[in-house]
């Protein structure tokens, strides 16, 4: 148990920043300037003030996952109702025409519920930092290494959900329900970074057994009697050693 606990203590901080999506819950995103492909200058807050949004970031020049990810979103989200999808380019090399071309390429430039735009370089850094969105320029490839993330923002600009990478469409549906204001249960998935579990589940057989967490509940009463006994013993020894009056 101690080895496992120690392992968790060492490994967990390394994984935390990337995997703990709950860490971003209710973070408020900064109100940064955005240029839409229609040419309008807007603030980010303006985009979600009337309805919740699903926000994703991309680069028009990306040779990696951006295109398949945007296709995945197009296929799964279809025509958004009661929420909007906002796709913003984080790439400072992108021009408005590049973003508009990307939107046209996916047939979503004029699709209802979809908004395409370009982040202004002055606000991009603070937004990316708040979102926990990692971007690193790889000069050998001439391209960015970056996250693939979908965020649910409420009408006040708070992050309600954060989903990394390609996920089961059922999870994406949960995000959509969340954006529509439905109550969606959220809990961490079973993983190795939980310190002391009350139960261990065998995924193969579906059977479970009590684990160290439950055993830990026996510590307080045992400690109580042990402490009382120890005090009693110490006092008895003190009485024995001290001279009798």
């Amino acid at each position: 148990m101690l080895a496992r606990l120690g392992g968790c203590l060492i490994v967990a901080p390394l994984l935390w920043a990337q995997l703990n999506e709950g860490h971003y819950y209710l973070r408020s995103v900064p109100d940064v300037p955005v240029t839409l492909i229609t040419g309008e200058q807007r603030s980010l807050r303006h985009l979600f003030q009337s309805q919740a949004v699903l926000l994703t970031l991309f680069s028009s020049r990306c040779q990696g996952l951006c295109s398949p990810y945007l296709l995945y979103l197009k296929r799964e989200l279809a025509s958004p109702r009661e929420f909007a999808v906002v796709a913003l380019s984080f790439d400072p090399r992108d021009r408005l025409a590049d973003v508009a071309a990307t939107a046209h390429r996916f047939g979503l430039a004029e699709a209802s519920g979809w908004t395409w735009g370009l982040l202004h370089p002055t606000g991009a850094a603070s937004l990316l930092s708040t979102l926990g969105y990692t971007v690193r320029y790889d000069s050998s490839r001439g391209d960015y290494d970056h996250s693939i993330v979908l965020f649910v923002l409420d009408r006040h600009g708070n992050i309600l959900r954060r989903m990394e990478g390609f996920q089961d469409p059922a999870l994406l549906k949960d995000l959509v329900r969340e954006a529509r204001g439905e109550f969606v249960l959220s809990y961490p998935l079973p993983s190795t970074d939980v310190a002391l579990r009350c139960f261990e589940l065998d995924k193969e057989t579906g059977s479970w057994r009590l684990s160290t967490g439950m055993v830990l509940l026996l510590v307080p009463p045992i400690a109580s009697f042990a402490l009382a006994g120890l005090i009693q013993l110490t006092l008895s020894l003190c009485r024995t050693r001290s001279p009798q009056p």
Binding site: C8, L9, A12, P13, L15, W16, N20, G22, Y25, L26, Y187, P188, S191, D193, V194, A195, L196, R197, C198, F199, L210, G213, M214, L216, L217, V219, P220, P221, A223, S224, F225, L227, A228, G229, I231, Q232, L235, S236
Partner: protein, 475 residues
């Protein structure tokens, strides 16, 4: 013992000054639920957190301060653990108030995992809250150990627990006060150990990102919280056992076998009674739900039965002069029965599914706290003030007793009625479906104003006299 007088007076002054503030927070919450006020949800839940934690905290320390003072009748009490507890309590309360009102910490007094990581507006509030709990826990743990050592210096453990009385021996006699104090102090140790484990796990997640098992955290939270609240009531009972017979002009209570049995049962069973807080948690092993059900009956019933018969027997044909102290003790026991029955009803599994998320819960815990445990401590405070100043507060008897008891009874009645109408608890506003909740909240608030008036009068009386004790002892 001047030092003990002084620290007891300091506790009384602190507690009686904080008490009306905590009541005021409660009244503001009820007025918000009645739609008389418009508090933001954040403000409401911050008030709920402060109200709950302050009330539990101040009446726990006051009941323990009372026992610490009375313990000098039997054993040598060292003052430094009490002073240590006082200083760390002040530090803890300052950190707590900073977390709540500076950092927007609003988890409610249960601070159930993982709320401390989310229900806040400033990230540092979580750390401030955890440090506050740590400070309070360390202070109270050292204080408890100090008292336990003081008892065990004179009474070996088996004698302090009156085990020889269990087998029918009557000598050497273990006074009921020593028996109840020992079982309560021993009962507190596991609560503090549970708190230490709980805090350690919170810090592991806060500093290291290691996720915790929600079921384990809930078990530990109630192991600590439920046991602490139960034990503070028993401290109050210890003071009652010590003072009430003398107030009635009767000889002191003696430890009979059934008294020893009742309090030894309390010692063990109270640790498992908290399982009734987890009836709704389907993943809790079923066997623990049965244990919780049985313990919920076994823990309070013997203590209530023994105490009630003792108190009624004492009052019967005693020619008791009813001034504030005996009135507080006597009515405290009577309301303890009512609140205890309300709690036992709620702790029955079948009832719990209907009652647990309703105002029935604040109804019963306000009954045995505001009208039970608090009255036991007020009884001690009134007695202490008379001992120190010679003033029994006879001028205050009618206004304070009438306003407090009438106001308190009306206040909890509004909760009980709302609970029986399925009005939910822990919400800042009631939906149209349970609009009666708003009306009853207003009724409750008005009755609570009577309690506040009584407490204000009483506080002025007590603080002035205890301040003189403090100054005289210093000079």
């Amino acid at each position: 013992m001047k030092a003990l007088d002084r620290i007891t007076a300091a506790w009384i002054i602190t507690v009686t000054l904080v008490f009306p503030i905590a009541i005021l927070l409660g009244i503001l919450m009820r007025l918000n639920q009645a739609n008389v006020l418009e508090l933001s949800p954040l403000t409401f839940y911050s008030f709920m957190t402060a109200h709950g934690l302050l009330m539990v905290g101040i009446w726990f320390v006051m009941s323990m301060a009372g026992v610490s003072y009375l313990l000098q009748r039997y054993v040598e009490v060292r003052v430094w653990p009490i002073t240590f507890g006082y200083v760390l309590t002040l530090v803890g309360v300052v950190l707590l108030l900073a977390a709540i009102f500076g950092g927007g910490f609003h988890t409610g007094w249960y601070f159930l995992y993982p709320l401390p990581f989310y229900a806040r507006t400033e990230e540092w509030a979580t750390m401030a809250f955890l440090l506050s709990l740590g400070s309070l826990g360390v202070g109270w743990f050292v204080w408890s150990l100090g008292l336990l050592v003081a008892i065990l210096r004179k009474y070996p453990l088996t004698r302090a627990l009156a085990w020889h009385h269990l087998v029918g021996k009557s000598e050497p006699e273990t006074p009921p006060f020593i028996l109840i104090s020992t079982t309560t102090l021993l009962g507190l140790v596991p609560a503090f150990v549970a708190a230490v484990i709980l805090l350690g796990l919170f810090f592991m997640e806060y500093l290291g990102g290691v996720k915790q098992d929600a079921l384990l955290m809930k078990n530990l939270t109630f192991y600590f919280g439920h046991t602490l609240v139960n034990e503070m009531l028993y401290f109050g009972i210890a003071a009652l056992y010590e003072l009430f017979p003398a107030l009635a002009g009767k000889p002191p209570y003696r430890t009979k076998p059934f008294v020893a049995l009742a309090w030894n049962l309390v010692l063990v069973v109270v640790w498992t009674a908290y399982f009734h807080h987890l009836y709704m948690d389907f993943v809790q092993p079923t066997v623990l739900q049965y244990v919780g059900q049985l313990a919920s009956w076994i823990a309070p019933i013997p203590a209530i039965a023994v105490t009630t018969f003792s108190v009624l027997g004492t009052v019967y044909r005693s020619g008791m002069k009813w001034w504030l102290a005996p009135t507080f003790f006597f009515t405290g026991v009577m309301f303890w029965i009512i609140g205890g029955l309300g709690a036992i009803l709620d702790a029955i599994v079948a009832n719990n599914f209907v009652l647990h998320n309703t105002l029935w819960v604040p109804a019963h815990f306000h009954t045995y706290n505001l009208l039970g445990n608090v009255l036991f401590s007020l009884g001690f405070i009134t007695w202490f003030v008379r001992e120190q100043s010679g003033d029994d507060g006879s001028r205050l008897y009618r206004p304070v007793a009438t306003l407090y008891l009438l106001g308190g009874a009306g206040f909890v009645a509004a909760f009980y009625i709302a609970g029986s109408l399925s009005v939910m608890r822990r919400v800042d506003k009631y939906p149209e479906l349970v609009a009666s909740g708003g009306v009853l909240a207003l009724v409750g608030a008005l009755f609570a104003v009577l309690v506040l008036a009584a407490v204000a009068i009483y506080t002025v009386h007590v603080v002035r006299r205890c301040w003189r004790v403090l100054v005289a002892a210093s000079s």
